[in-house]
Symmetry: C2
Subunit: 67 residues, 2 copies
């Protein structure tokens, strides 16, 4: 299991939290957003899902993931 | 038909727009949010729904309506 904290720009409210955490979940990982720091802590199994796919799922919701 | 523009605090993203406009619609009125000004333009028939009920519907979504 891998853990990474991604910086996500544009999260501003609890709906954003749900959108981002939902995207991570649908991608097959687990995510916990920290609105105060503008970040999401992600745990994933890199045998099942790539970090790139997780980032893409977040970006598909309209948020920018910092490189 | 009555028209009023309400100041709504805490709207920060498009999810907020949808939550507030949806609340106004469910209350039986029509609302159009302007995120830049933090306001929602509401049109309603005061024979069918009260302004108080519209404000309450918005507040039930977690936003503050200015007095």
């Amino acid at each position: 299991m891998q853990s990474v904290t991604l910086k996500v720009e544009g999260m501003s409210c609890n709906h954003c939290v749900q959108a981002v955490e939902g995207a991570v979940t649908k991608a097959g990982a687990a995510g916990k957003v920290n609105l105060a720091t503008g970040s999401v802590a992600v745990e994933y199994d890199d045998a099942k899902v790539s970090l790139a796919a997780i980032k893409e799922a977040i970006e598909d919701q309209g948020y920018d993931v910092a490189k």
